[in-house]
């Protein structure tokens, strides 16, 4: 083994300790609810809790809707910017990177001030309005990831030729986007979608400040009132994150495989 390899292994082992211990600790703690034995008692209690079922389902619905909004916003924009308005690229890139620069709590604060009950558009006043606001906020949070993955996907296909080919066959814009472009960037869109799902599912700040009782606020409430259940929740959240990332990898690999075979 060379000295270089030794140092690299050392770095990896230390990193492994730091990154795996909290996972082990979290799992260990979640199993200790019954004195003296390992058990899934905490999970049983959490999963049977109607509050959990309700808030978790709610957050899943929010995440799915966010993904739909994200796709509808980002795919046509990225497509037209690549095809017709290359000059707009810097502006679009700046906007899509803003959510990484402006802290989310500031954005939601702005919402509360602009769309409060005494404003022109009193979204926070109604159940529907609040949820729309929350969805838009999540769409903003997912913008950097969504745009980046879709744009990367578009870069790999020759959209100009595909568009012209489709047009010469008589397809209109909506059809081109839905039937030609979207399937070709499907894997990229999926990557963005899974990332969005991972971000939205346990999101706390937007939900808490807009007074929406979703999974994030539920977890915080559990954290303040229970001992072992929060760890079980953390394990669940970690598994979801892991699944999302795993699916991204899976789809990316699958798509490479299918292009290689073509």
């Amino acid at each position: 083994m060379t000295g270089k390899q030794l140092w690299s292994w050392l770095a990896v082992v230390f990193a492994g300790l730091y990154f795996l211990l909290p996972l082990v600790g979290m799992f260990d703690f979640s199993m200790r609810m019954q004195r003296g034995v390992y058990s899934f008692e905490a999970y049983r209690i959490v999963l049977a809790d109607p509050q959990f079922q309700q808030t978790f389902g709610y957050s899943v619905a929010l995440a799915l809707l966010t993904i739909v909004i994200g796709i509808l916003l980002v795919v046509p924009t990225a497509y037209f910017v690549r095809l017709r308005f290359p000059g707009l690229r810097p502006a679009i890139e700046f906007i899509t990177l803003l959510p990484l620069v402006i802290p989310p709590i500031v954005i939601v604060f702005g919402y509360i001030r602009i769309y409060n009950t005494s404003s022109v558009l009193p979204l926070t006043g109604s159940w529907w309005g609040t949820n729309i606001l929350l969805l838009c906020g999540y769409a903003v949070l997912s913008l950097p990831y969504m745009y980046r993955s879709v744009d990367t996907g578009l870069r790999t296909i020759d959209i100009a030729s595909l568009t012209e080919a489709a047009q010469s066959l008589g397809a209109g814009w909506a059809r081109i986007l839905a039937v030609v472009i979207l399937p070709n960037v499907f894997v990229s869109v999926l990557s963005g979608a899974f990332l969005t799902f991972a971000i939205v599912i346990g999101e706390y700040v937007f939900a808490a400040l807009l007074n929406v009782n979703s999974f994030g606020p539920y977890m915080v409430w559990m954290g303040g009132n229970r001992a072992y259940e929060p760890s079980a929740l953390a394990v669940v959240a970690f598994v979801i994150t892991w699944a999302c990332m795993g699916l991204i990898q899976l789809f990316t690999r699958f798509s490479k495989f299918s292009t290689a075979r073509r």
Partner: protein, 294 residues
């Protein structure tokens, strides 16, 4: 090409108009849900409740409690950004340049993707379960090694505890961003430097680090903003016992503390300014460092 693309839609160009319709929703959305809300905060920071222009709100930022909250936030963000960059760089260097088995490299990259997104409330729970008073590692150290972590002054609900927790998403983010940059270093550069008589250290100082500089700075700014805006992790970990800027703002918005919305504006404005400065420094340095790229 660009000028044609940007020309205004006219009756003769129905297709162009359609294209504009394709991008219009995006801009409308960005305006309504990103730009206007942010501008509202910025403007609000300079207005008093009567709508007059004032610097009074910003003056309130100088009160000792808020000033210290910002200091802690800046220290925390800077510390975790710098350490995240450092450790992330070491890990990325190990997996790209360290002749490690290929599957290990892929496993680490996948894990980084997961860990960088495993932030917020669950992460705080994981660290409480590990380094809390009854946490896994705390008990391990006490029972096996006789080390009393909490007796020696450690507490997960502290600056140090928060920093340790933040690093859990900061380091993997750095790994994800810097690995492609490290892979972009050409083997021939190193060989050319060696054949010209340069030592490994000289190669890093004169070639590799200057080439990586923009990416390093960019990630530092990103990590800073990332830590600065993290609220959920801090709230779930510390409740509100550790007073950092985003938690103070959170309390302001909830209205549980001072109930002065304009102080809230000022705090939010200061947060934007700080992350903007971080990114501004980054852009400036990057332009200087990239003279040789564009």
């Amino acid at each position: 090409m660009t000028t044609i693309a940007l020309s205004l839609p006219s009756a003769r160009q129905p297709r162009q108009m359609l294209s504009w319709l394709g991008v219009a929703p995006f801009f409308l959305f960005a305006l309504l849900f990103l730009i206007l809300p942010t501008l509202n905060i910025v403007v609000g920071a300079f207005r008093n409740p009567q709508g007059q222009v004032t610097l009074e709100n910003l003056g309130k930022l100088l009160s000792p409690s808020i000033r210290s909250a910002f200091w802690i936030s800046i220290e925390l963000s800077l510390l975790t950004a710098v350490l995240g960059c450092l450790f992330g760089f070491l890990i990325a260097a190990a997996i790209t340049l360290g002749d490690l088995p290929r599957p290990l490299r892929n496993a680490i990259l996948t894990f980084s993707g997961v860990a960088s997104n495993f932030a917020g409330v669950p992460l705080a729970f994981a660290f409480i379960a590990t380094l809390g008073r009854l946490g896994f590692v705390t008990m391990l150290l006490r029972n096996w090694f006789g080390i009393n972590l909490y007796g020696s002054g450690f507490n997960i609900v502290s600056f140090l505890g928060l920093a340790l927790t933040y690093l859990y998403f900061q380091i993997p983010l750095m790994v994800l961003i810097i690995t492609p940059a490290l892979e972009g270093l050409k083997r021939e550069w190193r060989e050319a430097a060696e054949s010209l008589g340069a030592s490994g250290a000289q190669y890093w100082r004169l070639v590799a680090l200057p080439v990586l500089w923009p990416s390093l700075l960019g990630t530092l700014a990103l990590l800073f903003a990332n830590a600065f805006g993290a609220v959920a992790t801090a709230i779930a970990l510390t409740g509100s016992s550790l007073s950092i800027a985003p938690i103070v703002l959170f309390a302001q918005i909830r209205g549980d503390v001072l109930n002065d919305p304009h102080l809230g504006y000022a705090i939010a404005f200061a947060m934007i300014v700080l992350t903007a400065i971080a990114n501004g420094i980054y852009i400036l340095l990057r332009m200087r460092a990239e003279r040789w790229l564009k």
